[in-house]
């Protein structure tokens, strides 16, 4: 790619896709956490020690991870189709999109994974 090439919006979009999933998941988990605490979901047992609150939060985490994984797969496929292999930064846009998708998936697990073990409501 030379600098003067026009990059269509659809190619740019895959660069952002992973982190859009991350940000939507972040906002969703944060709001559902507060809503759940306000409605007392933490005190409602679903099965044994598992509360409704924990189940909903972990469910959202799994959905977010699945969505992030889907973006990784699509980005990888688009990169292969464009001739990218290994860890070479060519073709640049597709490779950067694929790496960003992995980074977003890792971030989702890192920043939202603690819903698995931290105290949900105070």
């Amino acid at each position: 790619m030379i600098v003067s090439d026009n990059v269509p919006a659809s190619r740019m979009m895959w660069l952002l896709a992973g982190f859009i999933v991350w940000s939507v998941a972040f906002v969703a988990l944060y709001s559902v956490l507060s809503i759940g605490c306000a409605f007392g979901w933490d005190d409602m047992a679903l099965a044994g020690a598992l509360s409704v609150q924990r189940t909903v939060l972990v469910g959202l985490l799994l959905v977010s991870l699945a969505a992030g994984w889907w973006v990784v797969r699509v980005a990888a496929k688009r990169r292969r189709a464009a001739g990218g292999t290994g860890l070479h930064l060519r073709p640049f846009m597709e490779t950067a999109a694929w790496m960003a998708a992995w980074a977003a998936l890792g971030s989702t697990l890192f920043s939202l994974g603690p819903v698995l073990f931290l105290t949900a409501c105070n």
């Binding site: 890192f110 603690p114 931290l118 105290t119 105070n122």
Partner: protein
């Protein structure tokens, strides 16, 4: 809470020293630095190092944060009340209708502070005793504090609440358990004057 501050301080000091050492090496021994490729520097310094540092800090914050949560104890701790208003604090106690201008607590035992507000959002923060907790209209938030020894501990409002925010300070006075009742009576008398 001071623990987290010290962890961050020494962590930052260590990183500062490390970056300084790398800079000195790049200056005095460029051949040594050139042994690693650009890619290795990028992945090592830009990916591996931040992940290690962030994971360490996040873990410390999680562990200390969980400890601040006012969980029910077998022997229920003393409850006191902190009410914020623009721009001062009032402190109340279960066994008395009077309030004090400073928060009086016994030293060496956990105390649950029920934080409320009469107007806008404020935040109760005594850096040496616990983390911040917001005072939210219509809510009762509880933070567990504990002073290891008698003394005065300074506190501030940690959420911007208007013109008087910066002067909205208060003091938590921890007394030896045997002095606690007397000290509080004196404080009630002072507050009603």
């Amino acid at each position: 809470m001071a623990t987290l501050w010290w962890i961050m301080f020494w962590g930052a000091a260590l990183l500062f020293a490390m970056v300084g050492a790398l800079y000195a090496l790049a200056w005095w021994r460029p051949a040594m630095m050139a042994r690693l490729s650009v890619g290795q520097w990028l992945v090592g310094g830009g990916l591996v190092m931040p992940i290690v540092v962030l994971t360490g800090l996040v873990t410390a914050a999680f562990v200390l944060g969980e400890r601040l949560i006012a969980r029910p104890l077998e022997d229920p701790p003393l409850r006191v009340y902190a009410q914020a208003h623009q721009w001062d604090w009032r402190f109340g106690y279960d066994d008395s209708g009077s309030t004090t201008r400073e928060l009086h607590i016994p030293a060496g035992q956990p105390v649950d502070v029920v934080v409320t507000t009469a107007d806008v959002i404020h935040s109760f923060w005594v850096p040496r005793l616990a983390g911040k907790i917001d005072a939210v209209p219509g809510h009762e938030n509880v933070v567990r504090i504990e002073a290891d020894r008698p003394g005065s501990y300074r506190g501030v409002c940690a959420e911007f609440c208007g013109n008087g925010h910066t002067t909205m300070r208060f003091t938590v006075v921890a007394h030896a358990p045997e002095d606690y009742d007397n000290a509080r009576e004196t404080a009630f008398a002072e507050a009603s004057r």
